[in-house]
Protein backbone atom coordinates (compact mmCIF):
# COMPACT_ATOMS: atom_id res chain seq x y z
CA UNK A 1 0.00 0.00 0.00
CA UNK A 2 1.37 3.38 -1.01
CA UNK A 3 1.30 5.93 1.74
CA UNK A 4 1.39 9.56 0.92
CA UNK A 5 1.83 12.31 3.45
CA UNK A 6 0.79 15.65 2.04
CA UNK A 7 1.78 18.91 3.63
CA UNK A 8 1.12 17.72 7.16
CA UNK A 9 1.51 20.06 10.07
CA UNK A 10 1.03 19.06 13.68
CA UNK A 11 0.87 21.25 16.75
CA UNK A 12 0.63 20.17 20.37
CA UNK A 13 -0.91 22.97 22.42
CA UNK A 14 0.23 25.48 19.82
CA UNK A 15 3.74 24.09 19.96
CA UNK A 16 4.63 22.93 16.46
CA UNK A 17 5.95 19.36 16.29
CA UNK A 18 5.89 19.02 12.51
CA UNK A 19 6.06 21.78 9.91
CA UNK A 20 4.63 21.12 6.51
CA UNK A 21 5.95 17.61 5.98
CA UNK A 22 5.41 15.74 2.73
CA UNK A 23 6.58 12.22 2.05
CA UNK A 24 5.68 9.51 -0.44
CA UNK A 25 6.19 5.94 0.66
CA UNK A 26 6.04 3.35 -2.06
CA UNK A 27 4.31 0.05 -1.61
CA UNK A 28 6.56 -2.59 -0.12
CA UNK A 29 9.25 -0.14 0.80
CA UNK A 30 11.20 -0.23 4.05
CA UNK A 31 11.66 3.34 5.22
CA UNK A 32 13.51 4.69 8.23
CA UNK A 33 12.62 7.94 9.92
CA UNK A 34 15.91 9.03 11.41
CA UNK A 35 16.56 12.01 13.61
CA UNK A 36 17.56 13.17 17.06
CA UNK A 37 14.93 13.23 19.79
CA UNK A 38 12.46 16.02 19.31
CA UNK A 39 12.80 15.92 15.53
CA UNK A 40 9.18 14.87 15.06
CA UNK A 41 9.86 11.39 13.75
CA UNK A 42 7.66 9.61 16.28
CA UNK A 43 4.93 12.20 15.79
CA UNK A 44 5.00 11.50 12.06
CA UNK A 45 4.74 7.77 12.68
CA UNK A 46 1.81 8.25 15.05
CA UNK A 47 0.08 10.45 12.50
CA UNK A 48 0.34 7.69 9.91
CA UNK A 49 -1.09 5.23 12.44
CA UNK A 50 -3.92 7.55 13.35
CA UNK A 51 -2.87 7.75 16.99
CA UNK A 52 -2.65 11.51 16.41
CA UNK A 53 -4.63 13.74 14.08
CA UNK A 54 -2.82 16.25 11.86
CA UNK A 55 -3.49 19.93 12.52
CA UNK A 56 -3.32 20.48 8.77
CA UNK A 57 -2.69 18.35 5.73
CA UNK A 58 -3.74 14.88 4.72
CA UNK A 59 -2.48 11.32 4.77
CA UNK A 60 -3.42 9.03 1.91
CA UNK A 61 -3.40 5.25 1.99
CA UNK A 62 -3.34 4.39 -1.69
CA UNK A 63 -5.82 6.74 -3.30
CA UNK A 64 -7.94 7.02 -0.22
CA UNK A 65 -7.73 9.91 2.20
CA UNK A 66 -7.20 8.22 5.56
CA UNK A 67 -6.85 11.44 7.55
CA UNK A 68 -10.22 11.11 9.16
CA UNK A 69 -10.20 7.40 9.64
CA UNK A 70 -9.89 6.16 13.20
CA UNK A 71 -6.95 4.05 14.31
CA UNK A 72 -9.12 0.97 14.29
CA UNK A 73 -10.25 1.56 10.70
CA UNK A 74 -6.79 2.20 9.34
CA UNK A 75 -5.61 -1.35 9.85
CA UNK A 76 -2.00 -0.57 10.59
CA UNK A 77 0.41 -2.74 12.51
CA UNK A 78 2.16 -0.74 15.20
CA UNK A 79 5.12 -1.95 17.24
CA UNK A 80 6.05 0.06 20.30
CA UNK A 81 9.48 0.57 21.78
CA UNK A 82 8.43 -1.01 25.06
CA UNK A 83 6.50 -3.85 23.38
CA UNK A 84 3.11 -2.95 24.93
CA UNK A 85 2.17 -6.61 25.16
CA UNK A 86 -0.94 -7.60 27.07
CA UNK A 87 0.67 -9.20 30.06
CA UNK A 88 -2.37 -11.09 31.29
CA UNK A 89 -2.57 -12.95 27.98
CA UNK A 90 -0.42 -15.77 26.72
CA UNK A 91 1.80 -15.15 23.73
CA UNK A 92 -0.72 -16.99 21.56
CA UNK A 93 -3.60 -14.83 22.81
CA UNK A 94 -1.57 -11.69 22.32
CA UNK A 95 -0.95 -12.55 18.69
CA UNK A 96 -4.55 -13.59 18.12
CA UNK A 97 -5.99 -10.50 19.80
CA UNK A 98 -6.37 -8.44 16.64
CA UNK A 99 -8.34 -11.24 14.98
CA UNK A 100 -10.41 -12.01 18.04
CA UNK A 101 -11.73 -8.47 18.41
CA UNK A 102 -13.00 -8.36 14.84
CA UNK A 103 -16.75 -8.13 14.42
CA UNK A 104 -18.44 -11.51 14.09
CA UNK A 105 -18.77 -11.51 10.30
CA UNK A 106 -15.06 -11.11 9.58
CA UNK A 107 -13.72 -12.94 12.60
CA UNK A 108 -11.94 -16.19 11.78
CA UNK A 109 -12.76 -19.41 13.60
CA UNK A 110 -11.03 -19.99 16.90
CA UNK A 111 -8.98 -22.80 15.46
CA UNK A 112 -7.99 -20.61 12.50
CA UNK A 113 -6.84 -17.88 14.85
CA UNK A 114 -4.78 -20.37 16.79
CA UNK A 115 -3.26 -21.70 13.59
CA UNK A 116 -2.41 -18.20 12.42
CA UNK A 117 -0.79 -17.39 15.75
CA UNK A 118 1.39 -20.45 15.55
CA UNK A 119 2.36 -19.67 11.93
CA UNK A 120 3.39 -16.19 12.96
CA UNK A 121 5.37 -17.58 15.87
CA UNK A 122 7.23 -19.75 13.38
CA UNK A 123 7.88 -16.66 11.26
CA UNK A 124 9.36 -14.75 14.19
CA UNK A 125 11.31 -17.86 15.23
CA UNK A 126 9.57 -18.42 18.53
CA UNK A 127 7.82 -21.67 17.67
CA UNK A 128 6.13 -23.41 20.54
CA UNK A 129 6.00 -20.48 22.94
CA UNK A 130 2.22 -19.94 22.58
CA UNK A 131 1.52 -20.79 26.18
CA UNK A 132 4.11 -18.51 27.73
CA UNK A 133 3.29 -15.18 29.29
CA UNK A 134 5.14 -12.05 28.21
CA UNK A 135 6.77 -11.81 31.65
CA UNK A 136 8.51 -15.12 30.92
CA UNK A 137 10.21 -13.85 27.78
CA UNK A 138 13.35 -11.83 27.20
CA UNK A 139 13.20 -8.34 25.74
CA UNK A 140 14.12 -9.49 22.26
CA UNK A 141 11.54 -12.26 22.35
CA UNK A 142 8.87 -9.84 23.53
CA UNK A 143 9.57 -7.54 20.64
CA UNK A 144 9.25 -10.46 18.25
CA UNK A 145 5.90 -11.30 19.76
CA UNK A 146 4.85 -7.66 19.40
CA UNK A 147 5.79 -7.82 15.73
CA UNK A 148 3.89 -11.09 15.24
CA UNK A 149 0.86 -9.50 16.89
CA UNK A 150 1.06 -6.53 14.53
CA UNK A 151 1.44 -8.81 11.50
CA UNK A 152 -1.53 -10.96 12.49
CA UNK A 153 -4.07 -8.39 11.30
CA UNK A 154 -2.57 -8.28 7.80
CA UNK A 155 -1.79 -4.60 8.16
CA UNK A 156 -1.71 -2.24 5.21
CA UNK A 157 1.35 -0.61 6.69
CA UNK A 158 3.71 -1.78 9.38
CA UNK A 159 4.89 0.97 11.71
CA UNK A 160 7.67 0.47 14.24
CA UNK A 161 8.53 3.06 16.84
CA UNK A 162 12.16 2.60 17.91
CA UNK A 163 11.55 -1.14 17.87
CA UNK A 164 15.00 -2.07 19.13
CA UNK A 165 15.56 0.95 21.34
CA UNK A 166 15.17 -0.93 24.60
CA UNK A 167 17.38 -3.87 23.67
CA UNK A 168 21.10 -4.35 24.09
CA UNK A 169 23.48 -3.90 21.18
CA UNK A 170 23.97 -7.58 20.41
CA UNK A 171 20.26 -8.36 20.25
CA UNK A 172 19.64 -5.20 18.27
CA UNK A 173 22.00 -6.19 15.53
CA UNK A 174 20.53 -9.66 15.35
CA UNK A 175 16.94 -8.39 15.23
CA UNK A 176 17.87 -5.84 12.62
CA UNK A 177 18.96 -8.50 10.17
CA UNK A 178 15.95 -10.55 11.10
CA UNK A 179 13.51 -7.66 10.52
CA UNK A 180 14.99 -7.18 7.07
CA UNK A 181 14.36 -10.86 6.35
CA UNK A 182 10.79 -10.64 7.62
CA UNK A 183 10.23 -7.60 5.46
CA UNK A 184 11.55 -9.37 2.42
CA UNK A 185 9.32 -12.40 3.06
CA UNK A 186 6.10 -10.57 3.87
CA UNK A 187 6.56 -7.51 1.67
CA UNK A 188 4.71 -5.15 3.98
CA UNK A 189 5.18 -1.45 3.48
CA UNK A 190 7.19 -0.67 6.58
CA UNK A 191 8.11 2.56 8.32
CA UNK A 192 10.34 2.51 11.34
CA UNK A 193 11.57 5.25 13.60
CA UNK A 194 15.07 5.23 14.99
CA UNK A 195 17.70 7.55 16.32
CA UNK A 196 20.37 5.01 15.53
CA UNK A 197 21.88 5.92 12.15
CA UNK A 198 23.63 2.61 11.77
CA UNK A 199 20.30 0.87 12.11
CA UNK A 200 18.65 3.21 9.60
CA UNK A 201 21.43 2.99 7.03
CA UNK A 202 21.78 -0.76 7.26
CA UNK A 203 18.13 -1.64 7.24
CA UNK A 204 16.18 0.85 5.17
CA UNK A 205 15.62 1.17 1.44
CA UNK A 206 15.34 4.89 1.96
CA UNK A 207 16.21 7.01 4.94
CA UNK A 208 14.24 10.10 5.89
CA UNK A 209 16.45 12.38 7.95
CA UNK A 210 14.45 14.68 10.18
CA UNK A 211 15.34 17.60 12.34
CA UNK A 212 13.23 20.04 14.30
CA UNK A 213 9.96 18.99 12.78
CA UNK A 214 11.16 19.08 9.19
CA UNK A 215 12.45 16.57 6.70
CA UNK A 216 16.07 17.41 5.91
CA UNK A 217 16.76 14.80 3.30
CA UNK A 218 15.22 11.70 1.80
CA UNK A 219 17.43 9.18 0.09
CA UNK A 220 19.21 5.87 0.07
CA UNK A 221 21.99 5.16 2.52
CA UNK A 222 24.50 6.21 -0.17
CA UNK A 223 22.65 9.45 -0.82
CA UNK A 224 22.50 10.63 2.75
CA UNK A 225 26.03 9.53 3.55
CA UNK A 226 27.87 10.59 0.41
CA UNK A 227 25.70 13.47 -0.71
CA UNK A 228 24.28 15.12 2.38
CA UNK A 229 22.33 18.18 1.34
CA UNK A 230 22.60 20.17 4.54
CA UNK A 231 25.09 20.78 7.33
CA UNK A 232 22.70 19.02 9.68
CA UNK A 233 22.68 15.81 7.66
CA UNK A 234 26.45 15.97 7.21
CA UNK A 235 26.90 16.32 10.95
CA UNK A 236 24.24 13.81 11.94
CA UNK A 237 25.03 10.91 9.61
CA UNK A 238 28.40 9.37 10.21
CA UNK A 239 31.49 10.99 11.61
CA UNK A 240 32.28 14.45 10.39
CA UNK A 241 34.61 17.31 11.03
CA UNK A 242 33.75 20.93 10.40
CA UNK A 243 36.08 23.84 9.84
CA UNK A 244 35.15 27.48 9.31
CA UNK A 245 36.69 28.76 6.05
CA UNK A 246 36.34 31.62 3.64
CA UNK A 247 35.32 31.30 0.01
CA UNK A 248 36.94 33.61 -2.50
CA UNK A 249 36.27 33.13 -6.19
CA UNK A 250 35.65 29.41 -5.86
CA UNK A 251 38.75 28.83 -3.72
CA UNK A 252 38.78 27.91 -0.06
CA UNK A 253 40.87 30.03 2.26
CA UNK A 254 41.89 29.35 5.80
CA UNK A 255 42.93 32.65 7.38
CA UNK A 256 45.41 34.05 4.81
CA UNK A 257 46.30 30.81 3.06
CA UNK A 258 44.56 28.88 0.40
CA UNK A 259 44.08 25.23 1.21
CA UNK A 260 43.97 24.01 -2.34
CA UNK A 261 40.35 22.98 -2.44
CA UNK A 262 37.82 24.27 -4.91
CA UNK A 263 34.32 25.32 -4.01
CA UNK A 264 32.23 25.96 -7.06
CA UNK A 265 28.73 27.34 -6.70
CA UNK A 266 29.42 28.66 -3.23
CA UNK A 267 29.07 32.44 -2.87
CA UNK A 268 32.04 34.43 -1.66
CA UNK A 269 32.24 34.97 2.06
CA UNK A 270 32.32 32.87 5.20
CA UNK A 271 31.51 29.20 4.88
CA UNK A 272 31.98 25.90 6.66
CA UNK A 273 33.97 23.01 5.27
CA UNK A 274 32.67 19.52 6.12
CA UNK A 275 34.60 16.31 5.57
CA UNK A 276 34.78 12.76 6.90
CA UNK A 277 37.69 12.21 9.30
CA UNK A 278 38.73 9.02 7.51
CA UNK A 279 38.43 10.41 4.01
CA UNK A 280 41.63 12.47 3.92
CA UNK A 281 45.10 12.28 2.45
CA UNK A 282 48.14 13.14 4.52
CA UNK A 283 50.64 15.49 2.98
CA UNK A 284 54.29 16.11 3.72
CA UNK A 285 54.82 19.70 2.90
CA UNK A 286 52.15 22.22 2.97
CA UNK A 287 51.56 24.16 -0.14
CA UNK A 288 47.81 24.25 -0.13
CA UNK A 289 46.66 22.02 2.67
CA UNK A 290 45.27 22.10 6.17
CA UNK A 291 47.92 21.87 8.84
CA UNK A 292 47.46 21.70 12.55
CA UNK A 293 49.06 20.88 15.86
CA UNK A 294 48.23 17.51 17.33
CA UNK A 295 46.16 18.12 20.44
CA UNK A 296 45.02 14.63 21.32
CA UNK A 297 44.89 11.13 19.95
CA UNK A 298 42.59 8.26 20.78
CA UNK A 299 42.56 4.69 19.69
CA UNK A 300 39.13 3.86 18.29
CA UNK A 301 38.73 0.26 17.14
CA UNK A 302 40.90 -0.18 14.05
CA UNK A 303 42.02 3.40 13.67
CA UNK A 304 43.63 6.21 15.60
CA UNK A 305 41.60 9.37 15.83
CA UNK A 306 43.70 12.47 16.06
CA UNK A 307 42.46 15.85 17.11
CA UNK A 308 44.18 18.80 15.48
CA UNK A 309 44.23 22.44 16.40
CA UNK A 310 44.18 24.55 13.31
CA UNK A 311 45.15 28.15 12.81
CA UNK A 312 45.41 31.03 15.21
CA UNK A 313 41.99 30.53 16.75
CA UNK A 314 42.76 26.87 17.45
CA UNK A 315 39.77 25.38 15.68
CA UNK A 316 39.62 21.69 16.47
CA UNK A 317 39.03 19.05 13.82
CA UNK A 318 39.35 15.29 13.90
CA UNK A 319 41.02 13.07 11.39
CA UNK A 320 41.54 9.33 11.36
CA UNK A 321 44.85 7.66 10.75
CA UNK A 322 45.82 4.00 10.42
CA UNK A 323 46.94 2.69 13.79
CA UNK A 324 50.64 2.33 13.02
CA UNK A 325 50.94 5.51 11.02
CA UNK A 326 53.99 7.58 12.02
CA UNK A 327 52.07 10.84 11.61
CA UNK A 328 50.38 10.16 14.92
CA UNK A 329 53.72 10.74 16.65
CA UNK A 330 54.36 14.07 14.98
CA UNK A 331 53.50 17.33 16.58
CA UNK A 332 52.18 18.80 13.35
CA UNK A 333 50.09 17.07 10.71
CA UNK A 334 49.18 18.37 7.29
CA UNK A 335 46.32 16.87 5.31
CA UNK A 336 43.71 17.56 2.69
CA UNK A 337 40.20 16.04 2.59
CA UNK A 338 39.65 13.77 -0.37
CA UNK A 339 35.95 14.44 -0.41
CA UNK A 340 34.29 17.38 1.23
CA UNK A 341 31.40 19.73 1.05
CA UNK A 342 31.20 23.46 1.67
CA UNK A 343 28.09 25.10 3.02
CA UNK A 344 27.75 28.90 3.10
CA UNK A 345 27.89 30.27 6.63
CA UNK A 346 24.24 31.26 6.99
CA UNK A 347 23.14 27.71 6.23
CA UNK A 348 25.40 26.20 8.85
Amino acid sequence: MDVSIRRVRKEFDRFPALHDVSLDIRSGELIALLGPSGSGKTTLLRLIAGLERPTEGAIFFGNEDASHRTVQERNVGFVFQHYALFRHMTVGDNIGFGLKVRPGSTRPEKSAIRRRASELLDLVQLSGLEKRYPAQLSGGQRQRVALARALAIEPKVLLLDEPFGALDAQVRRELRRWLREIHDTTGHTTVFVTHDQEEALELADRVVVMSQGRIEQIGSADDVYDRPNSPFVYGFIGESSALPVRVDNGELWLADRTIGLAAQDVPNGDATLYFRPHDIELLDGCGGCIAGTVAAGRRVAGTRRVELEIGGDRQRVEIELPVGHPAAQQSRVAFRPRRYKVFPAQAA
Partner: protein
Protein backbone atom coordinates in the same frame (compact mmCIF):
# COMPACT_ATOMS: atom_id res chain seq x y z
CA UNK B 1 33.59 -22.05 42.95
CA UNK B 2 33.67 -24.25 46.00
CA UNK B 3 30.31 -22.89 47.03
CA UNK B 4 28.85 -23.75 43.65
CA UNK B 5 30.22 -27.26 43.78
CA UNK B 6 28.97 -27.94 47.29
CA UNK B 7 25.88 -30.17 47.44
CA UNK B 8 22.70 -28.13 47.56
CA UNK B 9 21.48 -28.09 51.11
CA UNK B 10 18.20 -26.61 52.09
CA UNK B 11 18.76 -23.27 53.72
CA UNK B 12 16.32 -21.35 55.83
CA UNK B 13 17.64 -18.12 54.40
CA UNK B 14 19.12 -17.68 50.98
CA UNK B 15 22.44 -15.83 51.00
CA UNK B 16 21.80 -12.18 50.28
CA UNK B 17 23.68 -8.93 50.30
CA UNK B 18 20.84 -7.20 52.10
CA UNK B 19 21.68 -7.30 55.80
CA UNK B 20 19.34 -7.53 58.74
CA UNK B 21 17.30 -10.56 57.82
CA UNK B 22 17.59 -12.05 61.30
CA UNK B 23 16.77 -8.81 63.02
CA UNK B 24 13.79 -7.89 60.89
CA UNK B 25 12.32 -11.38 60.82
CA UNK B 26 12.71 -11.60 64.57
CA UNK B 27 11.01 -8.29 65.05
CA UNK B 28 8.23 -9.21 62.63
CA UNK B 29 7.48 -12.43 64.42
CA UNK B 30 7.60 -10.86 67.87
CA UNK B 31 5.38 -8.02 66.75
CA UNK B 32 2.87 -10.26 64.99
CA UNK B 33 2.76 -12.51 68.03
CA UNK B 34 2.16 -9.67 70.43
CA UNK B 35 -0.40 -7.80 68.38
CA UNK B 36 -2.22 -10.53 66.49
CA UNK B 37 -1.37 -14.09 67.43
CA UNK B 38 -1.65 -13.92 71.24
CA UNK B 39 -5.04 -12.17 71.27
CA UNK B 40 -6.36 -14.49 68.58
CA UNK B 41 -5.05 -17.62 70.21
CA UNK B 42 -6.82 -16.38 73.33
CA UNK B 43 -10.04 -16.74 71.35
CA UNK B 44 -9.20 -20.30 70.41
CA UNK B 45 -8.01 -21.08 73.94
CA UNK B 46 -11.20 -19.84 75.50
CA UNK B 47 -13.26 -21.74 72.98
CA UNK B 48 -11.33 -24.89 73.69
CA UNK B 49 -12.44 -24.66 77.29
CA UNK B 50 -15.94 -25.40 76.03
CA UNK B 51 -15.28 -28.90 74.81
CA UNK B 52 -16.47 -30.26 71.48
CA UNK B 53 -20.02 -30.96 72.48
CA UNK B 54 -20.83 -27.49 73.69
CA UNK B 55 -18.91 -25.89 70.86
CA UNK B 56 -20.82 -27.93 68.30
CA UNK B 57 -24.10 -26.98 69.99
CA UNK B 58 -23.24 -23.28 69.73
CA UNK B 59 -21.90 -23.60 66.23
CA UNK B 60 -24.97 -25.35 64.93
CA UNK B 61 -27.38 -23.19 66.87
CA UNK B 62 -29.74 -21.65 64.35
CA UNK B 63 -29.24 -18.14 65.67
CA UNK B 64 -25.49 -18.46 65.28
CA UNK B 65 -25.76 -19.87 61.79
CA UNK B 66 -28.17 -17.17 60.63
CA UNK B 67 -26.00 -14.45 62.13
CA UNK B 68 -22.92 -15.86 60.36
CA UNK B 69 -24.83 -16.18 57.11
CA UNK B 70 -25.97 -12.59 57.36
CA UNK B 71 -22.49 -11.33 58.25
CA UNK B 72 -20.63 -13.17 55.51
CA UNK B 73 -23.42 -12.88 52.96
CA UNK B 74 -23.84 -9.13 53.42
CA UNK B 75 -20.06 -8.65 53.44
CA UNK B 76 -19.70 -10.57 50.17
CA UNK B 77 -22.49 -8.64 48.48
CA UNK B 78 -21.13 -5.32 49.75
CA UNK B 79 -17.59 -6.15 48.62
CA UNK B 80 -18.88 -7.20 45.21
CA UNK B 81 -20.84 -3.95 44.84
CA UNK B 82 -17.79 -2.01 45.95
CA UNK B 83 -15.67 -3.73 43.34
CA UNK B 84 -17.96 -2.53 40.56
CA UNK B 85 -18.44 1.03 41.74
CA UNK B 86 -15.04 1.39 43.36
CA UNK B 87 -13.31 0.51 40.07
CA UNK B 88 -15.57 2.95 38.27
CA UNK B 89 -14.81 5.67 40.80
CA UNK B 90 -11.08 4.99 40.57
CA UNK B 91 -11.34 5.17 36.77
CA UNK B 92 -13.03 8.56 36.92
CA UNK B 93 -10.44 9.87 39.36
CA UNK B 94 -7.47 8.55 37.38
CA UNK B 95 -8.59 9.22 33.85
CA UNK B 96 -10.46 12.49 33.87
CA UNK B 97 -9.59 15.98 35.00
CA UNK B 98 -12.64 17.88 36.18
CA UNK B 99 -13.33 20.64 38.66
CA UNK B 100 -13.75 19.21 42.12
CA UNK B 101 -11.74 16.08 41.35
CA UNK B 102 -9.54 16.59 44.39
CA UNK B 103 -12.58 17.02 46.61
CA UNK B 104 -14.04 13.75 45.35
CA UNK B 105 -10.67 12.14 45.81
CA UNK B 106 -10.51 13.29 49.42
CA UNK B 107 -14.13 12.35 50.09
CA UNK B 108 -13.34 8.73 49.21
CA UNK B 109 -11.32 8.46 52.40
CA UNK B 110 -14.06 9.77 54.67
CA UNK B 111 -15.40 6.32 55.57
CA UNK B 112 -11.91 5.60 56.94
CA UNK B 113 -12.01 8.56 59.27
CA UNK B 114 -15.62 8.79 60.32
CA UNK B 115 -16.56 6.95 63.52
CA UNK B 116 -18.58 4.10 62.13
CA UNK B 117 -21.39 4.72 64.61
CA UNK B 118 -21.83 8.17 63.07
CA UNK B 119 -22.02 6.61 59.64
CA UNK B 120 -24.57 4.09 60.88
CA UNK B 121 -26.77 6.77 62.44
CA UNK B 122 -26.53 8.98 59.36
CA UNK B 123 -27.38 6.11 57.02
CA UNK B 124 -30.25 4.99 59.25
CA UNK B 125 -31.64 8.52 59.29
CA UNK B 126 -31.45 8.85 55.52
CA UNK B 127 -32.78 5.40 54.66
CA UNK B 128 -35.46 5.21 57.35
CA UNK B 129 -38.98 5.18 55.87
CA UNK B 130 -39.31 8.86 56.75
CA UNK B 131 -35.75 9.79 55.77
CA UNK B 132 -34.62 11.59 52.61
CA UNK B 133 -33.96 8.55 50.51
CA UNK B 134 -36.16 6.18 52.49
CA UNK B 135 -39.35 8.14 51.74
CA UNK B 136 -38.63 7.93 48.03
CA UNK B 137 -38.11 4.18 48.23
CA UNK B 138 -41.04 3.49 50.59
CA UNK B 139 -43.78 3.94 47.93
CA UNK B 140 -41.93 1.38 45.79
CA UNK B 141 -42.15 -1.07 48.64
CA UNK B 142 -38.39 -1.03 49.20
CA UNK B 143 -37.32 -0.94 52.81
CA UNK B 144 -33.65 -0.36 53.47
CA UNK B 145 -33.19 0.67 57.08
CA UNK B 146 -33.78 -2.03 59.68
CA UNK B 147 -33.51 -4.87 57.14
CA UNK B 148 -30.60 -6.99 55.87
CA UNK B 149 -30.53 -4.63 52.91
CA UNK B 150 -29.60 -1.85 55.34
CA UNK B 151 -26.65 -3.95 56.54
CA UNK B 152 -25.39 -4.20 52.96
CA UNK B 153 -25.71 -0.42 52.52
CA UNK B 154 -23.67 0.23 55.66
CA UNK B 155 -21.00 -2.30 54.61
CA UNK B 156 -20.78 -0.75 51.15
CA UNK B 157 -20.18 2.60 52.80
CA UNK B 158 -17.32 1.45 54.97
CA UNK B 159 -15.70 -0.79 52.33
CA UNK B 160 -15.57 1.62 49.41
CA UNK B 161 -12.22 3.28 50.11
CA UNK B 162 -10.45 -0.08 50.24
CA UNK B 163 -11.30 -0.88 46.65
CA UNK B 164 -10.68 2.62 45.33
CA UNK B 165 -7.36 3.00 47.09
CA UNK B 166 -5.98 -0.36 46.00
CA UNK B 167 -7.08 -0.06 42.38
CA UNK B 168 -6.24 3.60 41.83
CA UNK B 169 -2.43 3.39 41.91
CA UNK B 170 -2.36 0.33 39.68
CA UNK B 171 -4.68 2.05 37.24
CA UNK B 172 -2.41 5.07 37.18
CA UNK B 173 0.43 2.77 36.16
CA UNK B 174 -1.38 1.42 33.12
CA UNK B 175 0.70 2.07 30.10
CA UNK B 176 -1.03 4.26 27.54
CA UNK B 177 0.79 2.29 24.88
CA UNK B 178 -1.04 -0.88 25.78
CA UNK B 179 -4.34 0.82 25.02
CA UNK B 180 -2.94 2.27 21.84
CA UNK B 181 -1.69 -1.15 20.84
CA UNK B 182 -5.18 -2.57 21.33
CA UNK B 183 -6.62 0.26 19.22
CA UNK B 184 -4.20 -0.29 16.36
CA UNK B 185 -5.16 -3.97 16.40
CA UNK B 186 -8.74 -2.91 15.78
CA UNK B 187 -10.21 -3.22 19.27
CA UNK B 188 -13.03 -0.82 20.06
CA UNK B 189 -12.91 1.25 23.20
CA UNK B 190 -15.22 -1.18 24.93
CA UNK B 191 -13.12 -4.19 23.90
CA UNK B 192 -9.98 -2.43 25.07
CA UNK B 193 -11.48 -1.83 28.48
CA UNK B 194 -13.10 -5.20 28.95
CA UNK B 195 -10.37 -7.39 27.46
CA UNK B 196 -7.18 -5.49 28.12
CA UNK B 197 -7.53 -3.04 30.97
CA UNK B 198 -9.84 -4.78 33.40
CA UNK B 199 -8.12 -8.18 33.27
CA UNK B 200 -4.86 -6.37 33.90
CA UNK B 201 -6.37 -4.81 36.98
CA UNK B 202 -7.68 -8.12 38.29
CA UNK B 203 -5.02 -8.68 40.98
CA UNK B 204 -5.52 -5.18 42.40
CA UNK B 205 -9.28 -5.55 42.26
CA UNK B 206 -8.99 -8.86 44.09
CA UNK B 207 -6.91 -7.24 46.82
CA UNK B 208 -9.45 -4.45 47.15
CA UNK B 209 -12.22 -7.02 47.31
CA UNK B 210 -10.43 -8.97 50.03
CA UNK B 211 -9.82 -5.86 52.12
CA UNK B 212 -13.35 -4.55 51.74
CA UNK B 213 -14.72 -7.98 52.53
CA UNK B 214 -12.54 -8.45 55.59
CA UNK B 215 -13.43 -5.03 56.86
CA UNK B 216 -17.14 -5.67 56.28
CA UNK B 217 -17.14 -9.00 58.10
CA UNK B 218 -15.78 -7.40 61.22
CA UNK B 219 -17.87 -4.24 61.03
CA UNK B 220 -20.01 -3.56 64.06
CA UNK B 221 -20.52 0.14 64.78
CA UNK B 222 -22.37 1.30 61.70
CA UNK B 223 -24.38 -1.86 61.17
CA UNK B 224 -26.11 -2.02 64.54
CA UNK B 225 -27.69 1.39 63.95
CA UNK B 226 -29.19 0.59 60.59
CA UNK B 227 -29.80 -3.15 60.82
CA UNK B 228 -32.69 -3.22 63.25
CA UNK B 229 -30.92 -6.18 64.87
CA UNK B 230 -33.81 -8.60 64.73
CA UNK B 231 -32.56 -12.09 65.65
CA UNK B 232 -32.72 -14.54 62.74
CA UNK B 233 -33.35 -11.62 60.32
CA UNK B 234 -30.85 -8.82 60.61
CA UNK B 235 -28.58 -9.76 63.46
CA UNK B 236 -24.90 -9.88 62.49
CA UNK B 237 -22.35 -12.20 64.08
CA UNK B 238 -20.31 -9.44 65.78
CA UNK B 239 -23.53 -8.26 67.46
CA UNK B 240 -24.27 -11.79 68.60
CA UNK B 241 -20.84 -11.86 70.20
CA UNK B 242 -21.55 -8.64 72.06
CA UNK B 243 -24.94 -9.98 73.16
CA UNK B 244 -23.28 -13.14 74.52
CA UNK B 245 -20.73 -11.02 76.34
CA UNK B 246 -23.46 -8.95 77.92
CA UNK B 247 -24.99 -12.21 79.12
CA UNK B 248 -21.57 -13.03 80.64
CA UNK B 249 -21.52 -16.04 78.35
CA UNK B 250 -17.86 -15.65 77.48
CA UNK B 251 -17.46 -19.15 76.11
CA UNK B 252 -20.43 -18.65 73.80
CA UNK B 253 -18.99 -15.33 72.60
CA UNK B 254 -15.56 -16.78 71.89
CA UNK B 255 -17.07 -19.76 70.12
CA UNK B 256 -18.82 -17.50 67.62
CA UNK B 257 -15.64 -15.46 67.33
CA UNK B 258 -13.58 -18.57 66.66
CA UNK B 259 -15.92 -19.67 63.89
CA UNK B 260 -15.76 -16.21 62.30
CA UNK B 261 -12.02 -16.28 62.60
CA UNK B 262 -11.73 -19.65 60.91
CA UNK B 263 -14.00 -18.74 58.01
CA UNK B 264 -12.37 -15.33 57.49
CA UNK B 265 -8.90 -16.78 57.58
CA UNK B 266 -9.81 -19.52 55.13
CA UNK B 267 -11.36 -17.06 52.68
CA UNK B 268 -8.55 -14.53 52.88
CA UNK B 269 -6.01 -17.30 52.52
CA UNK B 270 -7.66 -18.55 49.35
CA UNK B 271 -7.83 -15.01 47.96
CA UNK B 272 -4.15 -14.57 48.71
CA UNK B 273 -3.34 -17.81 46.95
CA UNK B 274 -5.25 -16.68 43.87
CA UNK B 275 -3.36 -13.41 43.94
CA UNK B 276 0.01 -15.04 44.29
CA UNK B 277 -0.86 -17.28 41.39
CA UNK B 278 -1.96 -14.44 39.16
CA UNK B 279 1.07 -12.35 40.13
CA UNK B 280 3.40 -15.13 39.18
CA UNK B 281 1.62 -15.67 35.93
CA UNK B 282 1.38 -12.10 34.81
CA UNK B 283 4.71 -11.09 36.27
CA UNK B 284 3.50 -8.27 38.48
CA UNK B 285 6.12 -7.27 40.99
CA UNK B 286 7.63 -10.72 41.27
Amino acid sequence: MAAAAAPKRWQFKRPSVIPGFGLTLGFTIAYLTLIILIPLSGVVWRTAALGWGDFWAIATDERTITALEISFGAALIAAAVNVVFGVMLAWVLVRYRFPGRRIVDAAVDLPFALPTAVAGIALAAIYAPNGWVGQLLAPLGIKVAFTPFGIVVALIFIGLPFVVRTVQPVMEEIDREVEEAAATLGATRFQTISRVILPGLAPAVLTGFALAFARAVGEYGSVIFIAGNIPYVSEIAPLLIVIRLEEFNYAGATAVAAIMLAISFAMLFVINLIQAWSRRRYGYGV
